[in-house]
């Protein structure tokens, strides 16, 4: 039954995409780029789980997965196959429709946000002017998947996880939004490509915004950690307290979709931090004497390296810090991060007004 449903949905999706392509006179290369991007993202998610298990393994003086394929490289493929063939169990008291809708609602925004992310100069699907707003709107949508999953499961642990997660995400969104307001004051644009271009004042990696906006950089990255429900902010799933939180009742492919959404969001937060504060696709030697030696490196590779660097921090934090207590999370979000961002917003506005060199010498 599931297989017929899945093939029918796939056929419907194919029809819709073809209709859109014909109706808007889109180029077929764009469609190919779309497919390649999604495939790359899913591959990145698969190998991010492998990297996570390996890196945390070495941090805890273990070896990590090393059985499937050479050095365990095929482990994520084996995991994916296992999840696909597992039975999907729907609890008897659950709301069937919402139970299946919830993972889709978690996954949709996580994929849709990539539409405005520039991978290189001009490598962006939709070069919209309201890019930051679009990102903020979509990342705030992701919480619906978690809340609905918790409610539809008809389980107390799932419900507790959903409640915790909702309060946490709504709180941290405010700090995240203010940090982005600082970036848009500095760059004078809501367009993500323009924000990257505004960071090329000719001093290599020192001209990126992480230096003048350092408090906002830290607040944004840590809020991103909290938004994706990663350790040390993983009270929504907290294995030792509420079993697995909002996805206790999920199994098989439905669980895998939640898993995919969480890891996609991790990559998204890293990519956005890279774009806002670490110069996106710009080379770290941009404008210095070393620039000529590294001219052959494509921008998308720099972007990838920076994203990988930030993802390493996600894993490092998970292996290092114990879980925050719930009231401490709330205190950190409201009483520490929001005031920091407000003060630094003011400081950034002054920087821009006095054309503080070198970052704001050009003015906005």
């Amino acid at each position: 039954m599931w297989l017929t449903l899945a093939s029918f949905a796939g056929f419907l999706l194919f029809l819709v995409i073809s209709a859109i392509t014909v109706a808007f006179h889109l180029k077929l290369t764009l469609l190919a780029a779309f497919v390649v991007t999604v495939a790359c993202l899913l591959l990145m998610v698969a190998y991010l789980t492998y990297a996570e298990r390996k890196i945390i393994g070495y941090m805890q003086i273990r070896i990590g997965p090393n059985r499937v394929g050479p050095k365990g490289w095929l482990q994520p493929i084996a995991d994916a196959v296992k999840l696909m063939f597992k039975e999907i169990i729907i609890p008897s008291g659950a709301n069937r429709f919402l139970f299946i809708l919830a993972p889709v609602l978690a996954m949709g925004p996580a994929l849709a946000a990539w539409a405005v992310v520039p991978f290189d100069d001009g490598w962006v699907f939709a070069d919209v002017n309201a890019g930051i707003l679009y990102i903020l709107a979509l990342t705030s949508m992701g919480v619906y998947g978690i809340i609905i999953a918790g409610w539809a499961s008809n389980s107390k642990y799932a419900f507790l996880g959903a409640m915790r997660s909702a309060a946490q995400i709504v709180s941290y969104e405010i700090a995240m939004g203010f940090a982005l307001v600082g970036v848009l004051v500095a760059a004078g644009s809501l367009n993500l490509s323009d924000i990257v271009k505004a960071q090329s004042s000719g001093y290599g990696f020192l001209s990126w915004y992480w230096l003048p906006l350092f408090p906002l950089f830290a607040v944004y990255f840590i809020s991103g950690l909290a938004e994706t429900n990663r350790a040390p902010f993983d009270v929504a799933e907290g294995e030792s307290e509420i079993v697995a939180g909002f996805h206790v009742e999920y199994s098989g492919m439905l669980f895998a979709v939640f898993f995919l959404a969480e890891y996609l969001n991790m990559i998204l937060v890293s990519a956005l931090t890279t774009i806002m504060f670490l110069g996106g696709w710009l080379s770290p030697f941009h404008g210095t004497f070393l620039d000529a030696y590294f001219a052959w490196v494509p921008g998308v590779l720099w972007m990838f390296l920076k994203v990988a660097f930030l993802l390493f921090f996600f894993l490092w934090f998970r292996a290092t810090f114990p879980r925050y207590r719930y009231d401490q999370i709330m205190r950190l979000g409201w009483k520490v991060f929001v005031p920091i961002t407000l003060v630094w917003l003011f400081v950034t506005a002054i920087f821009v007004l006095v054309h503080f060199p070198p970052w704001f010498a050009k003015g906005v």
Binding site: F24, N129, L136, A137, S140, E173, L190
Partner: protein, 195 residues
Amino acid sequence: MILKVIFYLFSAILVFAAVRVITAKNPVHAALNLVLAFFSSAVIWMLLHAEFLAITLILVYVGAVMILFLFVVMMLDINMAVLREGFNRYLPFGVLIGALILLEMVLVVGSKFFKTTAPVAENISNTLMLGRALYNDYIYAFEIAAVILLVAMVAAISLTIRPPRQTKYQHPSEQVKVKREDRVRLLKLPAEKSE
């Protein structure tokens, strides 16, 4: 042509979702249908080239307000049978209010306020024009609205604030400041001698 198809598709979804908000038996379903209604109206605003307003609608109402709504609705144990008891009693009042709203909308829509004017300039973005209108032309009205919101916020907090908790609190700053001398006292006890 394609824009018309999109418009009618999302208008149909909007009307369907709005009807479901008031007819759904389960309050959580009603709240989720309201989310769908917000989403469809955002799409229709997007068709009017009001991209800033459309995204802000999703960001504020879908992303924040409706999450808190859902939060509350999920926690409540609502018995729909009790809620429906007074239906006949409140019906005339509801019809009166509905008629009043309809009358107001008929008066406003189609009057001089809703004549569409030509775009001011093609090269100035919508967001910029909105910012100029809010912060230059209507700055006082905007500030007054902000102050009213602030007063409402303070009022809401002061209505729900509770007296200080009786339970013991942790003060992380004080915990960090603790010195060894505050907690541990080393005593010198001379060894007893057996004489």
